[in-house]
């Protein structure tokens, strides 16, 4: 059981780590793109939305790390 827990902890740290936003963000972006596709939006527009959402997640993460603080 200890090894299973350690294995799980390793993969949690590997994929999520101390920035869970960078784990959840791309998943939310993919879900959003999937909803758009199912709603009949064209592949080109959906692709652009996916790219913009991923870039937005990255930009938000950078801002939260380096932002000016009062």
């Amino acid at each position: 059981m200890r090894y299973v827990r350690a294995f799980g902890a390793f993969w949690y740290d590997f994929l999520v780590g101390d920035r869970p936003g960078l784990f959840l963000g791309p998943l939310v972006a993919l879900f959003l793109a999937w909803i758009l596709l199912r709603g009949g939006v064209s592949a080109g527009i959906t692709g652009i939305v996916l790219f913009a959402a991923v870039a937005g997640v990255g930009a938000l993460s950078l801002f939260l790390t380096a932002r000016p603080r009062a």
Partner: protein, 253 residues
């Protein structure tokens, strides 16, 4: 083309990870005992080969390609982590990777350990080397399996990683010191860009996006992520200046 798509990112990512593993192995070998260190390295390499063989082959043989493309989602997550860290490093908000400094820290830590036994295995050397190579190698294994499976090119991806391993380890063995001159931070930036680009492409295909222009859109995505990430570097520098913290180390390594 597909072969190169799988082999080049796996090669570059593996160079970075193997350089980091080499630093640990050299520190243990030089400070304690080479024989136990090399047995630890061998054990970790064997474990990694089994992991890649079992998970890689099973995923390619048993899982339909449509499902495998969803694995691109993990590549996207992992790549975004690499890329944002690389941008923070380039912008001065995160300490740059310095193999010489890491080597010095490892050596100092190992000198505090109990002395090497006069005969037989030195389990400290074995454990530190095994763990170091396995942990760095698991990142390589993850990239090889996800890239290889998504592109249907497990062999070339594994070959790219193996060539990187042989190149880095043989250079390290010849020089007998950490490869501090390898441009690790630049490589990490490039690998992050590739992982995010291919991750977006394959994960998009996984959810059903038929990309206009097919594979050619990869170049568009790569260029767009490059431009945005360079803008990110400038923005990070500007934010640090606003905080009056030139070369601040905001994020931990």
């Amino acid at each position: 083309m597909q072969t190169l798509v799988a082999a080049v990112p796996a090669f570059l990512a593996s160079v970075v990870e193997f350089v980091e593993a080499l630093t640990i192995v050299l520190a243990v070998g030089v400070t304690r005992q080479w024989r136990s260190t090399l047995i630890g390295v061998g054990g970790a390499v064997l474990a990694l080969a089994v992991i890649v063989g079992v998970f890689g082959t099973a995923s390619v043989v048993l899982v339909p390609i449509e499902i495998l493309r969803l694995v691109g989602g993990f590549l996207l997550i992992y790549g975004l982590q690499w890329l944002t860290k690389a941008v923070l490093r380039a912008g001065g908000a995160k300490a740059k990777h310095d193999e010489a400094a890491i080597y010095a820290r490892e050596v100092a830590a190992l000198r505090d350990e109990p002395p090497v036994p006069a005969t037989g295995m030195d389990w400290i050397s074995f454990t530190v080397a095994f763990k170091g190579v396995l942990l760095e190698g698991l990142e390589v294994a993850f990239i090889v399996v996800t890239f290889g499976a998504s592109a249907g090119q497990l062999g070339p991806a594994a070959l790219g990683a193996a060539v990187a391993g042989v190149l880095v380890l043989s250079t390290g063995a010849a020089l007998h010191r950490p490869l501090a001159r390898v441009p690790e931070n630049g490589l990490k930036y490039a690998v992050g860009l590739m992982l995010v680009t291919f991750g977006t492409f394959w994960a998009g295909e996984g959810i059903g996006i038929a990309w206009p222009g097919s594979d050619a859109v990869l170049l568009v995505l790569l260029a767009a992520y490059l431009v945005l990430s360079l803008a990110g570097v400038r923005a990070v520098r500007a934010m640090l200046t606003a905080r009056s913290l030139p070369a601040a180390l905001v994020a931990k390594e």
